[in-house]
């Protein structure tokens, strides 16, 4: 442990590792003193120091104690310190320092006197500090803590107004800081966390004139204790609260506050960058699901601290975690640029996953996924399956916007191939089983879809709602409505009431499919009651982002009811439901759809048509109205047939499995005299006829 080559007296002292004592301009080798100490003769050692270096009793003891401490002779150090009556010394010091707390004017005159008394004070405080350190190393932690505490009490007594910088020499300040820093550490080691918390707060809330680094170390250590001790600290005492300032009320708040302050300080250049601070903050904020706040923190960090690609990738994770996938993708596009870090696996996978959720980005995602698969080598080999999985998802999504049947079926089979390929890597991943189920269902391979849906429920123990919904929808597509209802009921049994909304909606639709409108109405009525109760216990929904998928969506209930009444031709009820729904969402293609149907039923073809057209103008990809427009036009006359055909083809481009679109397209072809084309369309319609789910499969994802 020979380090710290000081510039002090003799050069060879350091080089030879021989210790020397230095005071009053005199230097002396320690060998003789050490020999006396080894014999247990403290007094002789002390007197030889007093003579050799012309010191007083306390000075000699302090030096000896330090010598013993450095030699690792902790018991010896304690013996030496026992010889000084530290408490008495503290008492004695108090008046000498507190005499002139506001002595600014007469400072020069008092300076010499001050420096003498401060020298003595420091001697005592340093001795206590070393005593505490010795006790700490001997495992006598409580005693050590009490020593430190007495020092801080004394210092606080002396400087009631905080330590005035002008009056304190550096050495004394340093000792005080050391004591302030040591005390909470001691309580922590003694596993007395409540005392540790108070010591940390005392260190940070009182005026000790700590330097920036010392203060930062204490703040960080305290934040770590708050985050990970598992002991709730309780809010700080009232005394420390200042009017109008933020007072953290639990561990997490206090820790996050301290860590944010630390990040700010290093941004301002007051302290050196400490990577662990940002990691702790990352942990605390992402644990609290506040990754958007974390993103702000990353953005504020000065350039140069992180490599810019790391920063982009971290930000992408933060934004994606906060649901802002577009922003995340923008960042990933930059970081995956060929001049940056194009092979970063995590970034590639995240980018591909984000793209897989949007059919217009899916093609881009396919590229990322391929790159991910190519780079999943060596120790990253385990991620190959993940790459294949996102590739499958992207391809499946891309198939939805493909312009030709040929391309679509190619993409769909490629999607299945990728997902199947992924299975051998990710056997135990139930999500993959689910995704395969959806993929098969969307391609109307209902038997395979059913198998996977069941497998998913088994693998997850029925714990995930979407598994139940997939199973019920697949059964409904197979026209096995009563079985689908059994599944829905089973799922309802496994669900808490706030998450029952989508299942009840499903159930109502199943009732309709089984021509049991009264039961369906009953189900909707129950749903409405649930909406009311939900509003009561959670308060009104404030923003769109608060509407979670699982919660009951009131608009959908009214819309469903309107639909139901419209199929029963209860037009008065339809109008009531439409009114309620419109109050929640003024412009909606779904509602215009029903209005149009109502007009059509009353023979108001022109009004019906304009409602349908409005719906399509509002939502260009709203298929049901495109089909209805096509159907209406097909009846008007030969001149309208080309337009009808356009609408229907367009509907089929978006939704190739739409049975009604195929049917009406067949009619159009027939009316136009293209019998062969008509036959094909009718055939498609009849094949699909038996495979429509009551809600679209993509509604589950």
């Amino acid at each position: 442990m020979v380090e710290g080559r000081s510039e002090e007296p003799s050069v060879d002292a350091d080089e030879t590792g021989v210790r020397e004592l230095y005071a009053n301009g005199i230097c002396m080798k320690t060998s003789e003193v050490e020999a006396k100490l080894d014999e247990g003769n403290i007094q002789e050692a002390e007197s030889s120091l007093r003579e050799g270096l012309s010191l007083n009793y306390e000075e000699a003891r302090a030096l000896l104690g330090r010598l013993e401490y450095q030699r690792g002779n902790l018991e010896g150090a304690l013996h030496v310190f026992d010889g000084i009556d530290l408490q008495a010394a503290i008492q004695r010091l108090q008046p000498s320092l507190s005499e002139k707390p506001f002595a600014k004017k007469s400072r020069t005159r008092d300076d010499s006197q001050h420096s003498v008394s401060q020298h003595a004070t420091n001697l005592v405080l340093e001795a206590i500090y070393l005593k505490a350190k010795s006790l700490q190393k001997l495992g006598r932690l409580n005693e050590a803590a009490n020593e430190c505490k007495s020092v801080l009490d004394a210092v606080e007594n002396i400087f009631q107004q905080g330590i005035p910088e002008v009056q304190v020499d550096g050495r004394l300040q340093e000792t005080v800081s050391q004591v302030v820093e040591l005390l909470p550490e001691l309580w922590k080691q003694a596993e007395n966390y409540q005392e540790a918390v108070s010591a940390y707060r005392r260190a940070l809330l009182n005026q000790w004139s700590l330097d920036n680094d010392c203060c930062a170390r204490i703040q960080k250590a305290f934040a770590v204790l708050l985050l990970h001790s598992g002991v709730e600290a309780g809010p700080p005492s009232l005394g420390s609260q200042i009017e109008g300032s933020f007072v953290p009320k639990n561990n997490l708040e206090e820790a996050i506050l301290l860590l944010m302050i630390l990040v700010r300080k290093s941004d301002l250049g007051k302290i050196k960058w400490d990577p662990s601070v940002m990691e702790h903050l990352t942990f605390a904020l992402s644990l609290s699901s506040q990754t958007s706040v974390l993103a702000k923190q990353f953005e504020e960090i000065l350039p140069g601290v992180f490599h810019h690609v790391d920063r982009w990738n971290n930000l992408a994770l933060c934004y994606s975690g906060a649901g802002q996938n577009r922003t995340a993708l923008n960042l990933l596009q930059k970081s995956l640029h060929k001049h940056e870090r194009p092979d970063d696996l995590m970034a590639l996978l995240l980018a591909a996953k984000i793209c897989s959720e949007d059919s217009h980005l899916a093609a881009e995602g396919v590229g990322y996924a391929h790159r991910a698969i190519n780079n999943a080598k060596g120790i990253d080999g385990h991620l190959k399956g993940v790459g294949l999985r996102v590739l499958g998802l992207c391809l499946g999504k891309q198939a939805k916007v493909s312009s030709s049947d040929f391309e679509r079926s190619h993409l769909q089979s490629e999607a299945l191939k990728s997902l199947d390929g992924s299975i051998s890597f990710e056997q135990c991943n139930p999500e993959l089983i689910f995704e395969l189920g959806v993929q098969y269902a969307e391609q109307r391979n209902l038997n395979a879809a059913l198998r996977y849906a069941k497998k998913y429920i088994d693998a997850t123990g029925g714990s995930i709602l979407k598994g139940w919904r997939l199973l019920a929808l697949v059964l409904s597509a197979q026209q096995r409505f009563s079985e689908a209802e059994v599944v829905t009921d089973a799922a309802l049994d496994e669900t808490a009431k706030w998450e029952q909304g989508p299942l009840l909606r499903l159930k109502a639709k199943l009732k309709i499919s089984q021509s049991e409108p009264t039961d369906a109405i009953e189900t909707y009525r129950y749903l409405l009651a649930l909406v009311q109760a939900q509003r009561k216990s959670f308060g009104p929904v404030q923003s769109a982002s608060e509407v979670e998928d699982d919660k009951v969506n009131e608009f959908e209930v009214w819309y469903g009811l309107a639909n139901l009444y419209s199929s029963l031709s209860h037009w008065k009820d339809v109008e009531i439901c439409l009114g309620k729904a419109r109050a929640l969402k003024q412009y909606s293609p779904e509602l215009m759809h029903i209005e149009g149907a109502m007009c059509q039923e009353r023979g108001q073809t022109r009004e019906a048509l304009s409602s349908y057209i409005n719906a399509v103008l509002l939502e260009p990809s709203y298929v049901p109205c495109k089909v209805l427009i096509g159907a209406l036009l097909s009846k008007i006359g030969v001149s309208a047939l080309p337009v009808a055909r356009t609408f229907l083809s367009d509907a089929l481009r978006i939704e190739p499995t739409n049975r009604k679109a195929w049917y009406y397209l067949g009619i159009v072809h027939r009316n136009d005299g293209r019998i062969a084309d008509a036959t094909d369309c009718f055939q498609a319609a009849s094949m699909l006829g038996e495979s429509d789910p009551i809600e679209s499969f993509s509604s589950i994802i």
């Binding site: 002292a13 210790r19 005392e195 598992g230 506040q290 123990g461």
Partner: protein, 350 residues
């Protein structure tokens, strides 16, 4: 929490690893607590093969919590392939013991929560009845529901533009207008009489929150059990994220791609993963340093990190990734300088 006594080792009859997980909040058990403990030990008699004599003669909940012999017997029973059924007597005992409402005895039950939750969740796909486990979990869940009055737990995310007790900020005009971001740490709780499958993760998650709030009083072994089960839950080999010398080489890497999966993998929704990560954070970075616990938690975090990348779950990647790097920093001497140490010089001066 009451103010703890400051004596480092309050007298305890336990001859066990008590010292290693001693916390400052042990108190002398009340007469009522002693009587309940006595009853609990008595009813444990027919379940276990042997009970240390000192426990029967002087029943002390603290000693019961820390007795390694009792713990390992109960743990073995809980891990038995047929455990957790409705008539399982250990589960019955744990349930009854928790229902005594004696805080010290409830700690004894919580001590086994890692194994109960671990075995239970991994066994769900086997379609066995596990109502014995479920009864204990529900008891813990409803205790927490009652004590929280069903309320959610929220955190105000600080905003440095507001002054706080630790820093100053220039008051700006919009200060008063801006509200704090409120983060929901734990959701509102509804009472449950049975474990509905979609509520399973939430119920276990809430039970783990209670475990976390008592974690400083838990024996190290219980925490290590927890870490081991987390590794199983993750179902993902994490050895490629080791930093030490035994890092998997490329040849092993190839093998990993096929054999990277393990039995017992479970879905890890955030409501479960979040309390799991809080507990692992404590195990890795808590003030009570224990190398075995550190290693166990580090291994669990590696597996969960691998898992979160497999799930491409950004929030989980951020949380587990930060723990992974903090674990690395904790082992790096460069970051572990003791600043309270005195500068050692050969020239000692006044």
């Amino acid at each position: 929490m009451s103010d703890p006594s400051s004596s480092p080792s309050s007298a305890s009859a336990s001859p066990t690893d008590a010292a290693s997980s001693q916390t400052s909040s042990t108190e002398v058990p009340s007469a009522d607590s002693i009587a309940k403990t006595q009853a609990a030990i008595h009813s444990l008699n027919p379940i276990l093969t042997s009970i240390p004599r000192y426990l029967s003669s002087s029943p002390d909940p603290f000693a019961l919590l820390h007795d390694p012999d009792i713990s390992s017997q109960i743990s073995d029973l809980l891990r038995h392939p047929d455990s957790g059924t409705v008539d399982n007597n250990v589960c019955r005992w744990l349930y009854d013991t928790f229902q005594t409402s004696d805080p010290a005895l409830q700690l004894v039950v919580l001590r086994f929560l890692p194994i109960i939750a671990g075995v239970y969740l991994s066994r769900v796909p086997l379609r066995k009845t596990l109502s014995g486990f479920e009864a204990v979990l529900l008891a813990i869940y409803s205790h927490e529901t009652t004590s929280r009055n069903g309320q959610s737990i929220t955190v105000n995310i600080p905003d440095l533009s507001h002054p706080s007790i630790y820093h100053e900020a220039k008051p700006t005009a919009k200060n008063n207008a801006t509200e704090f971001n409120v983060a929901i740490i734990s959701p509102t709780l509804d009472p449950h009489r049975t474990v509905r499958s979609t509520q399973r993760a939430k119920i276990v998650g809430v039970a783990l929150e209670l475990y976390y709030s008592k974690i400083s009083q838990m024996p190290v072994r219980s925490k290590i059990d927890f870490c081991e089960h987390c590794e199983i839950w993750a179902g993902q080999d994490g050895s490629m994220y080791r930093d030490d010398e035994v890092k998997q080489g490329d040849e092993d890497g190839e093998k990993e791609t096929k054999a990277g999966f393990k039995e017992g993998r479970i879905p890890l929704p955030w409501e479960l993963l979040q309390p799991v990560l809080r507990i692992l954070g404590h195990c890795l970075l808590g003030p009570h340093r224990d190398m075995a616990l550190f290693d166990a938690s580090h291994a669990a975090i590696r597996s969960l990190y691998a898992r979160s990348i497999h799930d491409i779950d950004p929030r989980a990647i951020l949380t587990t990734g930060s723990l992974l790097r903090l674990g690395k920093i904790a082992l790096d001497p460069k970051f572990n300088i003791d600043h309270t140490e005195v500068k050692m010089t050969n020239v000692i001066s006044l």
